[in-house]
């Protein structure tokens, strides 16, 4: 769906943020992890056409991103910003969520339907007339997710969706990701919550210093202890516990741990 070849980018002359990135994305749900400053957000802004690459190419559905405006790309690729205040414009929750769909020329009726459907998913459909700025931070994050989901793009990227979410909020995001996967969309997420990665994403890409350090099935990635350390990334808690106890296989969830524990006794 997306093909990135030899991509490089820098904000100023001194420091290169991304260098020589080669990646291909299929429809597997993908987590992008790595330290602050590793280049994760920059990469997704390039895909979305918000920044222009110094070198290299990004192809989405075989079309070169550099030949398209951000407005044209908006029909194909949606991005939920890390800071909700960067993307809230309107005075009511409903208008806010309809803003994107109307901008990509969806008719008003469809836009409203999509908006309400998305607001139901994040359980804000009882607050349609509220001013978005009166919502709490966690609600604003969910509102922004709904705004992008309503645009019904093929590709959806979340930048740190679980910030400020409690257990219930994370559960809603988990269900949204699943619903998008079921609709055969490519879901990508930049995230620091490794437990959430382990439980929800098929593929994980580790960025370090502007380059791809690791890329593969989430389980394989979290078994590469030494490389993870290089990128200052920690495996999920349950994975660390299993490893300390000497389990042979990489464990990603509590259920896997319990199953494995039954067939295993620790070395004395």
């Amino acid at each position: 769906m997306i093909k990135i070849a030899n991509l490089s980018f820098s904000y100023n002359k001194e420091t290169r943020v991304l260098s020589g990135i080669n990646l291909e994305f299929d429809r597997r749900s993908t987590a992008i992890i790595g330290q602050n400053g590793a280049g994760k957000t920059t990469l997704v802004k390039l895909m979305k056409g918000l920044l222009k690459a110094d070198e290299g190419k990004i192809l989405i559905h075989e079309h070169d991103v550099s030949g398209k405006t951000a407005a044209q790309l908006a029909r194909t690729i949606g991005l939920v910003f890390q800071n909700p205040n960067d993307q809230i414009f309107k005075r009511t929750v409903l208008d806010e969520v309809m803003f994107g769909p109307l901008n990509i020329k969806m008719d008003k009726q469809t836009a409203k339907e999509k908006a309400i459907e998305a607001l139901k998913m994040v359980e804000l459909d009882d607050k349609l007339e509220m001013n978005p700025h009166d919502l709490s931070l966690s609600e604003k994050k969910l509102l922004c997710i709904a705004s992008v989901v309503a645009m019904d793009t093929d590709i959806i990227i979340f930048d740190e969706p679980t910030i400020a979410q409690d257990h219930g909020g994370k559960e809603k995001i988990r269900q949204i990701i699943q619903a998008l996967k079921d609709k055969n969309k490519l879901v990508m997420t930049i995230i620091h919550d490794m437990d959430f990665v382990a439980e929800n994403f098929e593929r994980t890409i580790v960025f370090n210093d502007g380059q791809v350090l690791l890329d593969g099935e989430t389980r394989d990635v979290f078994s590469q202890k030494e490389l993870l350390k290089t990128a200052c990334v920690e495996a999920p808690g349950i994975t660390k516990l299993a490893e300390r106890l000497g389990f042979k296989d990489t464990v990603l969830t509590v259920d896997e741990f319990i199953n494995m524990k039954k067939t295993y006794s620790p070395p004395q």
Binding site: Q82, H192, L245
Partner: protein, 281 residues
């Protein structure tokens, strides 16, 4: 010595229909490291703001009961007076940035200038917090050019520089990567060891379990429990309050293994490892 006393605190935001805090009572000793947990809208942020006086002085609304911070009753003292005793790091660092300063260095100086610290001491304090929060390399950047993580570090640095006796933090590491949050928690812990009283609202249960002396569990504006992490996270009804225990506690609960000689489940990686190896705890 009791550093903070909260007695029968009730609070309702203007225009709200229900109480954000409903009959909250607890006290905190000097030097304690306290975690506040609860689902969203449980009242965590409101309680933090009540400790620094933003509730009720800034937000107004209906207020009852008493909050005494280091001997000062919040209701009867201005935010400015209280700010000399207690500092607060906001949940969203963007909200905290003054917008009137053009460099990180000046931004951190803002609070210090306001409380009349001499110039030489301001410089010393800024240098030391830049180092503590590891943001020396961005000291000449504009605060609004920082990444979320850097801005959060700056927000914490500007409060720590004011050397409050009591530090209130509302999800201070939400924008940071795991290594960064660990670093910040260690910095806060070192302040706590120097005798500073720390109150921290947080969703990262593993961090609460690892760093806090006691945990205040809030639900619908009420205190459900206030006890050690081991006791709080071993509660059977935790999920009913919209919370999940640390993954280490959940796995030990599922396997039915408690810490030897206690009625508590392990709450940290180290405790879980010991118990599951069968060494006791």
């Amino acid at each position: 010595m009791k550093k903070i006393i909260v007695e029968g605190l009730k609070y309702k935001y203007p225009l709200a229909d229900s109480l954000a805090l409903n009959d909250v009572t607890f006290d905190i000793k000097q030097g304690e490291f306290i975690g506040i947990i609860g689902k969203n809208l449980a009242g965590k942020s409101t309680l933090c703001q009540a400790l620094v006086g933003l509730v009720p002085h800034f937000y107004k609304g209906a207020y009852g009961g008493k909050v005494i911070v280091d001997g000062l009753e919040v209701k009867n003292h201005s935010i400015a007076d209280l700010s000399l005793k207690v500092g607060m790091v906001f949940q969203n660092p963007f909200t905290q940035v003054t917008g009137s300063k053009t460099t990180v260095y000046e931004e951190i100086a803002f609070g210090l200038e306001n409380i009349g610290i001499p110039r030489t001491e301001i410089i010393e304090r800024i240098d030391s917090v830049l180092d503590l929060l590891n943001i020396e390399q961005v000291k000449d950047h504009n605060p609004f050019d920082l990444s979320g993580g850097q801005m959060q570090r700056m927000a914490i640095a500007s409060i720590i520089a004011m050397k409050p006796d009591i530090l209130v933090l509302d999800e201070p590491t939400s924008q940071l990567d795991p290594a960064g949050s660990e670093e910040v928690f260690q910095a806060i812990q070192s302040l706590s060891k120097q005798g500073i009283t720390v109150i921290l609202a947080e969703h990262k249960m593993e961090k609460i379990a690892q760093y806090c002396d006691r945990v205040l569990l809030l639900n619908n504006g009420k205190v459900v429990d206030f006890d050690t992490p081991g006791k709080i996270f071993s509660r059977e009804d935790l999920e009913g309050y919209g919370l999940t225990a640390p993954v280490y506690t959940r796995v030990c609960k599922a396997l039915g293994v408690k810490k030897a000689g206690t009625d508590e489940y392990p709450v940290t990686l180290e405790e879980a490892e010991r118990v599951l190896r069968g060494d006791g705890a």
